[in-house]
Every structure is written in structure tokens, then in C-alpha cells.
């Protein structure tokens, strides 16, 4: 599109030549922007350095890791990956990867289903003592999870579920993570109810309303919930540590620790190589889903 003030580039440059004030102003803006970017870049690098260091250290031989801060390996080696993948146990690292997925996937699915249903109830229905329940829900967010560890452990022991993944994901079927419910409620509150009323008139009952209308509109929020839950669960160390006791069921978080424990002289390059691999799923999932974080929602339905 044509610029209204400067119809074309030639006119713009002519104007620039003739107008020292304008030239000075533009130069000032450029200098300002350069300084801003340099500062941002510097702090960005400081924060990312540990991550870069981990990646590069994974390619270094063990003796080189702690001897230099340099990111570029002097002796490039893949030993860390090869030995790390084989682990010191009878299982490969792939096994631990799968183990992680065995409880993370059900955990994410259950969290999404239960949180959406509970949030829908809170946001759209009149329930007796709704305010009280809502405050209770918010209060559970503030409660440190470690407070519940012992009673929960005892409970699952009585149920005979120790050394299985059930204690890790079963509670999610009951919308126990208040944060996600709260997040969805807030999102739902921001959505106009017109569409739901129209659907009611079109013949939806409450469940059809949820499935056909609310869930599609909630999609960005649901994806955020799934993403958070996925990343937090993959990184969870305490849960598996308490409930999983046999090595064949270890997830990544425990497996990494395992290689530190079993050998005298720790093979740091192996650990760092596996740690690098371990964060790949989270990064991939995040990259796939990040569009939904910014997607404008339901704009079509309410546009004036």
C-alpha cells in the first residue's frame, strides 16, 4: 500500500535529504532501538546459557566438562548419548521414555476432561453455596502439595496401588488440580453466553452444549491446560519417587537420578546427553501448540 505522506521511496529519500530534523529523528530512533536490543540480547543469553551449556556438554568427553566454560567442545564425542541411552541398567533409555508417557498421557487426558466439566459447572450453573465451593477450590491451589503426600501415600497403599502409575494420574480424574479448573473458569467467564443460548434454542441439552459449543470455544484454554500439565508431569520428580519403586517402571525423571546413584564416578556427559533428550518432547509439544496460545478466540461469533 502507498504511504500517504511519502507517495514513493524516491519522494521519501528526497524529503530526507531536505529535512535534517527528520533525519536526526530517525537516527535517534535507530540508536535507541539498537541499544534496547543489545540489552535484551545480553540478558536473554545469560538466561539461556545453562541450557546451551547442557547441550554442548553432552557432546564433550567427561573430563572436559568441568574444565572449561566454553560452549564449543574441544573433543567432539557422541559417547555421552550412546552410553547414556544404554544406561547402567538392563533397560535402554527408550524404556524410561515410554514409562513417562504411560502416566503422563492419561494424566493429561483426565485432567482436561475433569477440569473442563467442573469449570463448566462453576461458570454456567447455579449451584447451592457456589461461592463457598469456589473459595474452597481456590484455597486448594494455595495448599502446598507436599502437605498431602503422606495421607495420600497411606491411602494408595491401602488401595494396593503402590508401584503402579495409578496414584500418579487417578486423582486427576476428579479435577484435583484447582489451578486448571480456575484457569478454565476464568476463560469461560470471558466468553459471551449468546452462543450457548442459541444452541439451547437449537435443541442442545447441557452435555451437547458442552461438547458442541463450549469445548470448541474453549479450545485455546484446553490446549494450554494440556500443555502445562504435560510439561509439569514430565518434569515431576517427587510423585514417581514416592510411588514407583521398581526400576522397570521408572520414568525419565527418576532414570536420570538413577545414573547418578549407581556409579561411583558419575558419567556427567551421559546424564547431560539424556537430560537434553528428555526435554525434547516438552519442546516439541510446546512448539506444536504455541499457536493456540495466541489464537484470538471466538472473534467470529461476536464481531460487530
Amino acid at each position: 500500500m502507498m504511504n500517504k505522506v511519502f507517495p514513493n521511496k524516491a519522494a521519501l529519500s528526497a524529503d530526507l535529504k531536505n529535512n535534517p530534523m527528520l533525519r536526526a529523528e530517525i537516527r535517534k530512533q535507530r540508536v535507541g532501538a539498537t541499544i534496547r536490543y543489545i540489552i535484551l540480547l545480553f540478558f536473554g543469553l545469560v538466561m539461556l546459557y545453562p541450557l546451551f551449556w547442557m547441550f554442548s556438554a553432552a557432546f564433550k568427553p567427561n573430563h572436559e566438562i568441568f574444565s572449561s566454560l566454553s560452549l564449543w567442545p574441544k573433543e567432539f564425542s557422541l559417547d555421552g548419548f550412546i552410553n547414556g541411552w544404554n544406561t547402567g541398567t538392563e533397560y535402554t533409555f527408550g524404556r524410561f521414555f515410554l514409562n513417562t508417557l504411560y502416566y503422563v498421557v492419561p494424566k493429561v487426558i483426565l485432567t482436561v476432561i475433569s477440569s473442563v466439566i467442573v469449570a463448566y459447572g462453576f461458570a454456567r450453573f447455579e449451584i447451592p453455596f457456589k461461592k463457598f465451593w469456589f473459595v474452597t477450590l481456590v484455597a486448594t491451589i494455595l495448599l502446598p502439595t507436599s502437605v498431602l503426600l503422606i495421607p495420600q501415600y497411606l491411602m494408595f497403599r491401602e488401595m494396593g496401588m503402590l508401584d503402579s502409575y495409578l496414584p500418579l494420574y487417578l486423582p486427576m480424574a476428579f479435577a484435583t488440580q484447582g489451578f486448571f479448573v480456575f484457569m478454565l473458569i476464568q476463560f469461560l467467564r470471558g466468553l459471551p453466553t449468546d452462543m450457548e443460548e442459541a444452541a439451547q434454542i437449537d435443541g442442545c441439552n447441557s452435555y451437547q452444549l458442552l461438547w458442541y459449543i463450549v469445548v470448541p470455544m474453549l479450545k485455546p484454554a484446553i490446549i494450554s491446560v494440556a500443555l502445562f500439565q504435560f510439561m509439569w508431569s514430565v518434569n515431576d520428580f517427587l510423585g514417581p519417587l514416592i510411588y514407583i519403586s521398581s526400576v522397570e517402571k521408572y520414568p525419565i525423571a527418576l532414570a536420570l537420578k538413577l545414573s547418578i546413584d549407581v556409579t561411583e564416578g558419575t558419567q556427567w556427559n551421559e546424564i547431560l546427553a539424556m537430560a537434553s533428550i528428555a526435554i525434547v518432547p516438552s519442546i516439541v509439544v510446546f512448539l506444536i501448540a504455541q499457536n493456540y496460545f495466541v489464537e484470538g478466540i471466538s472473534s467470529g461469533g461476536v464481531k460487530g
Binding site: P192, D194, M195, E197, A198, A199, Q200, I201, D202, G203, C204, N205, Q208, Y212, I213, P216, M217, K219, I297, S298, S299, G300, G301, V302, K303, G304
Partner: protein, 377 residues
Amino acid sequence: MSKVVFENLTKVYSNGFKAVHGINLEIEDGEFLVVIGPSGCAKSTTLRMLAGLESITGGSISIGGKVVNGLPPKDRGIAMVFQNYALYPHMSVRENLGFGLKLAKVSKADIEKQVNEAAELLELTPLLDRLPRQLSGGQAQRVAVGRAIVKRPQVFLFDEPLSNLDAKLRASMRVRISDLHKTLKKTNRSATSVYVTHDQTEAMTMGDRICVMKDGHIMQVDTPANLYKYPKNLFVAGFIGAPEMNMVETRLDRTGEGKCHLALSSQMLGLPDEKLQKVLTNFTEDVVFGIRPEFIKLADDNSPRDELIKGTIVRMENMGAEFYVHFTVEDRELCTRIPADVVEAKLLDAIGKEHLFHFEMNNGHIFSKATEINISL
């Protein structure tokens, strides 16, 4: 048959606020009824109660002779068009139109047929595969209307459907909806419509009858022409018509020969016999005199002497074909509409000057100040 009847319909909110005060209303089969009123008059609440989106506190609503008080919206045989269109953002126009039928488990072929039919009627065929966000406001509203038609409801409900459109589009949609109503009626389809708006023009041009509401009460239900000509009370008189009816608080004086005079400041207006008879049966001294701007004319030689008032012109607004001429009678300001050619002939440089005006008293109204009821009808 799709007659709608409200009997003593009441709505009280849980915080104790009484929104609708036991209203009674009959909407005939095939009628286009417009409900109008200032914001907060409970017109939308009433519509939503009819739709089943809002619970009823007291009274009853029946559609086609069947009481629907406890029925969910889908079982009432209604379709509704919302102010914000309320299209499902994730569905194409085609899916939006067919969604109600899909839920009703209509066969795919039938859905396709009915959707195409409605799309043709509303010229939506080229838009069928678009998403709501790819539509303009006018197109979106047409889809919303189409969604209502596809359902073949007994009653159509419109909740300020044109408020979000610009003036030009609003005018064309107004005609479209009116025409649609006529088309449906002609093809013997149920077309009873309840249309809520706060826009007078929509009410006057679209409605077979208009229901004027205020604070949860019905003020008057009548045809647009009657509402304009014979307002039952002060509120309706003031609400309908632009520019507004002139209203003057004044006194009604009974004179010796069984006549009545209205005092307008120090000048007097006589009442014609016809009005006099009616006024005398409900006589009260403190009244509000109302007269529409078009019934105040420039006086000429033929004007009756007891209908003349002298006023000073203070302002003239040029509306193109006519002028709104504002004049004061001592401390009161009144407005009249005078054709542009008359203004050019007689009122050039008239601002600040005195003029004689003819008040056509036959078309005036006298309201009791206490009850606000029109005692001259």
C-alpha cells in the same frame, strides 16, 4: 395456530428486584409484534422468558394454546435471533444453519434441502462454506435469521437484531425482515414474530402492532398509527415520535358557557367541542397539554381565533425538506415542523421575531397530571 398469550406474567429476580409486573398480552397467529421501550424496561427479559432462557416467577405463557412455562427452549417451537448474531464461531455457515436440525436427528438429505432453501431465500448460497469470522455484520445477521427460518418454528423471536449494524444496513435489513415475514405468511408457514427493539423507526415500520413497555409494565399495545395518533398516556406520547411531542404543564379552566380553556402562559387556547365532551367526563384541573410539532402551523386568515398563540422564534433547524422551528411562549419552548418552501417564503430572518401560530386543537392531547392518562381520548 401459533398464538402467544401472556397471562399475568411476572418476573422477580433472586435479589428481590421485580422486573416484570404481571403483564397480559395476546399476540395473534402470524402477527408481527414489536416490543419497544427504554433500556431497563424488561422488554428483553420478557422475550427471554418467552424463549425459555429465563425462568418465570408467576403467571403463564402459552404458545399455540399450550402452556410452556416449564418447557426447555427447544420444546417451545421457537427460534431466536440475537443482537450479537450468536453464530457458532467454529462452524461454517452451512453447519450453523443446519445445527438445530442435526440435533433434531433430521436426515442429512433433508437438512441439506432445508439449508439450501433458507440460503436461497436470504441470498446466502455463496457464503455457505465460510466461517462466521469471514462474514460482514450484515451477512452474519442474515445467517442468524436463516438459522431461525431453517427450524420452521411456530414463533420467531428477535432480540434487537439490528442494533449492531450501521444505519444504512439497518434500513435494508429492516425491509428484508419485513418482506420475509410476509413471504412466510403467504406460503402458509407459521410467522408469528416478537421483535424487541429500542429503535422507534424499526417499531413504526415493521410492527403490525407495537407494545410499549416501561419499568416492567405494558403502557399501550396498538397499531403504529394508533399509537402515534392516540397515545393513551404521557409516556407513550413522549416516547413515540421524533421530534418529540410538545408537552406543556398547564391548567384547564372551566368557563361560564360550559367551555374549557387551556392556559398557555398568559394566552388561552379553546378546546373544540369533540375534545371538550371527553375532557369534561374526566375533568381535572392540573393537566399536561401535548401536541405534535406537525400540528402547530403558521397562522393565516382562516385560523380559528381561539387556537392562536403568539410566540418568539428562537431557533430553526434545517432538515432539508422541512425546518424544525423552535419558538418560545414566554418561558416555554415549543417546536413545530414547517415545510422548507413555507419557511423560505415567510420566515426568512425570523429568528428573534414574534409570530402567530395556529395550534390544531383537534389533534392535541390532554393528560391528567396526576394519573398521566390521556383524558381527551
